[in-house]
């Protein structure tokens, strides 16, 4: 049974404690972000001055808040010394969760740690969910909650984020904005004094809005407890982890070579492998993995087909597949024969399926459908999307546009790339198999009709084939881990 964090992630109303009229102060920013993101419930504020701020009524203290407003969450910006009284007032008022943005706790030396321990004990005694302290805030898109002192407010989606670094919450959410793959809940755990990463992940696993957990961890207090709980969470939802400080040398007093080799990094690798969590090496990789879990179905196996409009892309993608846990499917005879019906003989007639420029108007969606639907194909990586729209852009921006038939051909290319991206999403939805699209145009020209349409289908347009293959392998590793533990065909 996970700890009930619904007052934090789904409060009926929020009060900003220690709101400020100075737009450079946290107490203003928090109120601004809450109001600007359009939280559906009431937003009130307290400070000594009273009055009104950004349209929110301001009261001198928590005890002065009107009794007929349902409030579950206090966002606390007051100095550490004031916070025990704030918590007591919250409890009197029936406020069930407090996000403590204030600093001056465990991060600030021994005295801070003592004050933090006292605050945790008080919150426990009062029955208040204590998030933070020293955290940047909490986001919950299903209720329009942006109770944080940083940007951005991300699009709605199904990734649940918990991070021991507030800045990485922002990084993940920036990547959500960039890819269009959204967030369900996000929390900066701050010092994680009372509610830790495992608590958040457990709640996400029970949360119908969240499909995948994404966490940044450092300095775990009890590694064995974390590993045990992580394992239970991954049984219910995929989890992607990034660990900070993983390369620090271990201090194991042991006469053995085994001890000498047991670095934090390698042991944590083992913890994640056993728990079935995806361990990512960087923030971008972690987000991409989580975004893939959130937007692609689990592959039924590890056999990959590569579709490409040019040879070199297919070759390097095949290399990436060989380096991963995936396998490059030898092209089945019946599939080769079926594609022969669609393409003149200069296509590769093997996997990678290289059209070699032989495609005509309908070839790409038709072959994509054939390949994705084939029972031996478990997943598809598609390359070359947007190449014609890239040329179209050069024409559109060139001096000859719109004459010489350019307007017509530009429109055609853009419609085609849009159509191919949608065909990929549809083929994936229809077959329940992952179809990943990779092109550097995702970052080189995000407005290109190809990547733009991929985003519009709610999926990630991967900036390189390597990254698409890595994400697909993570998807497959997770699926295989589940299947083996369910006694499935890949049981080792």
């Amino acid at each position: 049974m996970s700890r009930d964090l619904s007052p934090l992630f789904a409060p009926r109303g929020v009060v900003v404690v220690g709101a400020s009229s100075h737009p450079g102060k946290f107490g203003f920013v928090a109120l601004h972000n809450l109001r600007a993101a359009g939280f559906a419930g009431p937003v009130l504020a307290t400070n000594r001055d009273g009055g009104e701020l950004l349209g929110a009524p301001v009261y001198p203290s928590i005890d002065d808040l009107p009794a007929d407003v349902d409030l579950d969450l206090a966002f606390v910006c007051t100095p550490a010394a004031a916070n025990p009284d704030v918590l007591r007032a919250c409890a009197r008022r029936g406020i069930r969760a407090a996000f403590i943005a204030s600093a001056g706790y465990g991060e600030a030396g021994e005295e801070g740690r003592r004050v933090q321990d006292e605050l945790v004990a008080l919150a426990d005694e009062l029955g208040i969910v204590l998030a933070g302290p020293n955290g940047q805030g909490v986001v919950s898109t299903p209720v329009g909650l942006c109770a944080q002192i940083v940007a951005p407010y991300p699009p709605r989606g199904s990734i649940g984020i918990a991070s021991q670094s507030g800045n990485f919450v922002s990084s993940f959410m920036n990547l959500a904005v960039a890819t269009g793959v959204g967030i369900s809940r996000a929390v900066s755990a701050g010092n994680a004094a009372a509610v830790g990463i495992a608590d958040y992940l457990e709640w996400f696993a029970d949360d119908p809005e969240t499909r995948v957990g994404l966490a940044y961890v450092e300095g775990l207090v009890d590694g064995r407890d974390f590993a045990r709980r992580l394992r239970a969470v991954t049984e219910r939802m995929p989890v992607v982890l990034v660990k900070g400080g993983a390369t620090a040398g271990g201090q194991r007093a042991a006469a053995s070579h085994t001890g000498a080799l047991a670095s934090d990094d390698r042991v944590f690798d083992g913890v994640c492998r056993q728990a079935g969590a995806v361990r990512a090496g960087s923030i971008e990789e972690a987000f991409e993995a989580a975004a893939t879990f959130a937007t692609q179905p689990a592959p039924p196996g590890g056999r990959v087909a590569i579709l490409t409009t040019a040879g070199g892309w297919g070759v390097v993608t095949a290399d990436a597949v060989h380096r991963s846990s995936l396998t490059l499917l030898p092209l089945p005879d019946d599939l080769r024969a079926a594609i022969d019906e669609k393409l003149p003989p200069r296509w590769s007639r093997n996997n990678p399926i290289d059209f070699a420029g032989a495609e005509t108007r309908d070839t790409i969606p038709e072959v994509l459908d054939l390949v994705t639907a084939h029972p031996d194909v478990d997943a598809v990586v598609m390359l070359g999307l947007g190449i014609q729209s890239n040329q179209a852009r050069l024409m559109r921006e060139g001096r000859y546009f719109p004459d010489h038939g350019l307007e017509r051909i530009v429109g055609y290319h853009e419609r085609q790339d849009d159509r191919f991206a949608r065909a990929a999403a549809e083929a994936s939805d229809r077959t329940g198999k992952p179809v990943l699209i990779a092109t550097e145009l995702a970052v080189a020209d995000p407005d290109n009709a190809g990547p733009a349409a991929v985003r519009d289908t709610g999926r990630v347009c991967y900036p390189s084939a390597d990254r698409a293959v890595r994400a697909l392998a993570q998807l497959w590793d997770d699926a295989r881990h589940r299947r083996r533990r369910a006694g499935g065909p890949d049981a080792a």
Binding site: R224, A254, A255, H257, T258, L261, A262, A492
Partner: protein, 222 residues
């Protein structure tokens, strides 16, 4: 890469370490403890040549580094000379010592396995590529204890040099079930014996596809 650090406990002699591994079902090369060169020759005659001779004692942890292992001894004279030299190489700090005589097992592949107690995550079992280059290669994987057969199999699968686990130089592929059993045995040992600080099985030689421990070092709480 860090070398083995100062010990937190005391080490068991190689044959005592091997006996403990055998209790947990880990295949170990048979060895005879001999008090003097005559006994060593007698043991070698019984085992059949070639043999290996090593100096053993509770306080002897890293034999190879000290030159206390003599390989490929092909006749009684070689065994006698080696045993004499090994006993002469012991120092007062080694305490009571003896010569261990064992068959010279051959395999193109040397693996390493072990147990360590991680300060964060508790006891972990290790598997990797072994021999004298273990630490330089660092192709190893850890699994927290307790572990099941799937955990062990996935750890083995996560090693980079998978080709070395397949058929190599006329030798069959490594029997993954047998290797999994070694990891499960080490896990069981770590659970049953909380006084065991660490275990090194290096090398774990692959003989006809099956892993056999030919050297073992168990460290227990002082």
């Amino acid at each position: 890469m860090t070398a083995p650090g100062p010990t937190a406990g005391r080490t068991l002699a190689e044959d005592d370490s091997a006996a403990l591994l055998a209790e947990f079902g880990i295949p170990v090369a048979p060895a005879t403890r001999c008090a003097d060169p005559d006994a060593a020759v007698e043991a070698a005659d019984a085992i059949g040549y070639p043999v290996v001779a090593k100096l053993v004692g509770d306080a002897i942890a890293h034999k190879t580094e000290r030159g206390l292992v003599r390989l490929s001894l092909r006749d009684p004279d070689a065994v006698r000379d080696a045993a004499t030299a090994l006993l002469a190489a012991s120092t007062p700090a080694d305490g009571e010592v003896a010569v261990l005589v064992a068959p010279m097992l051959r395999g193109a592949r040397e693996l390493v396995a072990g147990v360590v107690r991680d300060p964060q995550f508790g006891p972990c079992v290790m598997i990797g590529l072994g021999g004298v280059l273990t630490e330089a290669l660092a192709d190893v994987a850890f699994v927290p204890v307790p572990l099941d057969a799937l955990d062990a199999a996935e750890a083995i699968e996560s090693l980079t040099a998978q080709a070395l686990l397949g058929p190599v130089r006329g030798e069959p592929a490594v029997d993954r079930d047998a290797l999994t059993a070694v990891l499960l045995g080490l896990g069981a040992l770590a659970e049953a014996r909380p006084d065991v600080v660490s275990v090194d099985v290096n090398p774990l030689i692959v003989v006809d596809g099956r892993p056999v421990a030919v050297d073992a070092l168990v460290e227990v709480d002082a």
